[in-house]
């Protein structure tokens, strides 16, 4: 499956937007945390898991989705939220813990919900799989051709929730796609020391569904695999498991001393940066001009900068607002 020029530009813009978002967030997060790094201090407190490097998983899948399709993401959700079209201003305000956030500051970075585009995420490993399966079941019961996508890290493929959801989705032939973002690390533990198989896509066989492995963080290969999986789901032919070999440029969380990681790993990964590679492909093979690519870059960076400004300007919630919205 070959992406059109529009699809290429869409993916490029989504990836550049996500990258600029994470790099901006990394700087904002450190405000008020130097020279003493205190995780609870500063402009943006709490844990912060950034996804720079993992953009192909977001853009290459979400380019095939509609607003009515559901995405459930992980504790590292920003790139996927951006690609799914989550309101960027309100998402950023949420991460800043502000009044205008998606949840008025109740959820924060690991708990982003935007029902307008059917996006949700969770800080618990593996807990994207069940809800996506349920969204797919709802689509079936409602007679819709909507699909659902569950994002998981490679570490989550060792959780019971993942395996149980795969079985259920296959048993009921539900329109769901499971996307494993294999960034090689479960916090400090390398995949080779946590996972009995080198490639999680082989686990699909155990649940009688197609399993696809995408190597080398290749956006076009993600596009191809996800396009087929989403089309198959929409046709009512059941779930697919895709594992994407991707990269994680930042630590597991901001503040991670990364004592476990080879010193040169990130530099080596950045030499194969997926955004640069996609841009090269667009210019060389797809008739995209430098001006078109630059225009996309300028536009998305301005959107990101505006979102951070929106968040900065948004007020703090009132303390007693904490008592609201426990029940619907």
């Amino acid at each position: 499956m070959e992406p059109s020029k529009d699809q290429l530009l869409w993916m490029y813009a989504a990836m550049a937007k996500a990258r600029h978002y994470e790099d901006t967030m990394a700087r904002a997060y450190m405000e008020g945390k130097t020279p003493k790094f205190d995780i609870g201090a500063g402009l943006v407190p709490g844990e912060m898991h950034l996804a720079a490097g993992q953009e192909p998983c977001a853009a290459g899948v979400c380019v095939h989705l509609r607003a009515g399709d559901t995405v459930t993401a992980t504790h590292r959700p920003h790139h996927v939220a951006i690609a799914k079209g989550v309101d960027l201003n309100r998402m950023t305000a949420e991460i800043y813990g502000r009044r205008d956030g998606l949840a008025g500051g109740r959820g924060g970075h690991m708990h982003l919900f935007d029902p307008a585009v059917n996006f949700a995420c969770s800080g618990i490993i593996g807990e994207s799989a069940g809800p996506a399966t349920g969204a797919a079941l709802a689509a079936r019961l409602q007679g819709s051709d909507a699909v659902a996508v569950a994002y998981l890290g490679d570490g989550a493929a060792n959780q019971g929730a993942f395996h149980e959801a795969l079985n259920l989705a296959s048993l009921w032939r539900l329109p769901v796609v499971f996307v494993i973002e294999d960034n090689a690390w479960g916090i400090s533990v390398p995949k080779s020391r946590s996972t009995a198989v080198p490639d999680n896509s082989v686990r699909a066989r155990g649940y009688d569904m197609p399993g696809v492995h995408v190597a080398d963080n290749d956006t076009l290969a993600v596009f191809d695999a996800a396009g087929e999986a989403v089309a198959r789901a929409r046709r009512g032919e059941g779930p697919t498991l895709i594992e994407v070999q991707t990269y994680r440029y930042y630590g597991h969380f901001q503040g991670d001393p990364e004592v476990y990681r080879p010193k040169d790993e990130v530099a080596r990964l950045k030499a194969r940066d997926p955004i640069d590679r996609l841009r090269g492909h667009m210019l060389d093979n797809a008739g995209v001009t430098e001006a078109e690519a630059d225009e996309a870059l300028t536009r998305v960076r301005a959107e990101v900068d505006a979102a951070f400004e929106f968040a900065r300007q948004s007020g703090e919630p009132a303390p007693e607002d904490a008592l609201e919205h426990v029940f619907a």
Partner: protein, 340 residues
């Protein structure tokens, strides 16, 4: 001339584990990131270097499997120390904890034992939101068959860990992240303490009076001990002499220490970072009321997290979690005084 060695909570835990591992080959450690990383909250720093990969085992993110394996290994003659990284993650593995670890001794008529330590990080206060900030003392203390401890300082962290490892029952060892003395997370002044270098054990079920006073009893545990002490200092300036009790363990619970104090003061405030309803605060007050409601000169008060998921945003989280000022206000209420 004296050696006044001060340890952080995490270093005290590690020292207890290492000392037991040196003398007891059945003790081993497993959990997520307990190897080269040394535990996300530094509960296993350096253990891999000393004891090697066989006895300090990084696990996959598979809590049902490795906590279940801890139960099985314990029943087969080992003394596993298993880490559940955040207590909030119990949702994916509770069956192994409360249906296996907690019940196997009873269902075997005492013929099997499960000498496993499950150590887990609790607490909020740094904007990590409600999937990573809960305390959940009562969730575990409510279920029979497990001992549950929660140290407030490094001295207790070492002594309670030593006891936990040597105990033949499953012990849930709940350490508050904000008491670990982590370089990257603020901790109250009193969390790091002088810690003897030789091994020692602190018996379970013995509360400690950390501040003596005659006007009101403040019962606390884990992080709220520090809030209670700060409140007591502030109250002293108002002319109120508060007694502060650190429970140190929930199961067994030292009800007698609470009663002895309330007999003296006649007033009671209970502070716990866990949720308010159906929790430790209610249990303590019920224990006093059941024994002799006449002991209390005024209505008891509790300071706990309101019954809401712990919010992310700083002003809302501060609203939700106990602190010294809330305890002080509660004490003033037991004295029937308006808060200044």
């Amino acid at each position: 001339m004296s050696r006044n060695r001060v340890l952080t909570g995490s270093r005290a835990m590690v020292e207890a584990i290492a000392q037991e591992m040196r003398v007891d080959p059945t003790v081993f450690v497993m959990g997520e990131d307990v190897g080269p990383y040394g535990g996300i909250f530094s509960s296993t720093t350096g253990l891999l270097d000393e004891f090697g990969e066989e006895r300090v085992r990084d696990t996959p993110i598979s809590e049902t499997a490795f906590i279940g394996a801890g139960v099985g290994a314990a029943m087969a003659g080992m003394r596993p120390i298993v880490e559940l990284m955040f207590v909030d993650f119990f949702g994916v593995c509770m069956d192994a904890i409360y249906n296996l670890a907690a019940k196997n001794t009873y269902f075997s008529g005492g013929n099997s034992k499960v000498p496993m330590v499950l150590m887990t990080a609790t607490g909020g206060g740094y904007s990590d939101a409600g999937q990573h900030s809960q305390t959940l003392h009562a969730t575990f203390a409510h279920l029979p068959g497990m001992k549950v401890v929660a140290p407030s300082n490094a001295y207790d962290a070492k002594g309670l860990m030593t006891s936990a490892i040597r105990d033949d029952a499953p012990v849930l060892y709940m350490f508050h992240k904000g008491l670990q003395g982590l370089a990257w997370m603020a901790a109250p002044e009193g969390a790091s303490t002088e810690v003897p270098e030789d091994p020692y054990a602190i018996p379970f079920g013995e509360a400690r009076v950390v501040r003596e006073g005659g006007d009101v009893t403040i019962v606390a545990i884990s992080m709220t001990v520090h809030h209670a002490l700060a409140a007591a200092e502030a109250l002293a300036k108002d002319g109120v002499d508060a007694e502060v009790i650190d429970l140190r363990s929930l199961v067994p619970l030292d009800r007698e220490a609470v009663l002895a104090s309330v007999r003296k003061t006649g007033r009671l405030v209970v502070a716990d970072e866990d949720y308010r309803s159906f929790g430790l605060t209610a249990e303590i007050i019920a224990s006093v009321a059941e024994t002799d409601p006449g002991l209390l000169k005024s209505a008891p008060r509790r300071v706990a997290c309101p019954d809401i998921p712990i919010p992310y945003s700083r002003p809302m989280e501060r609203f939700a979690l106990p602190d010294a000022e809330k305890i002080r206000a509660a004490v003033q209420q037991t004295l029937n005084r308006a808060v200044a």
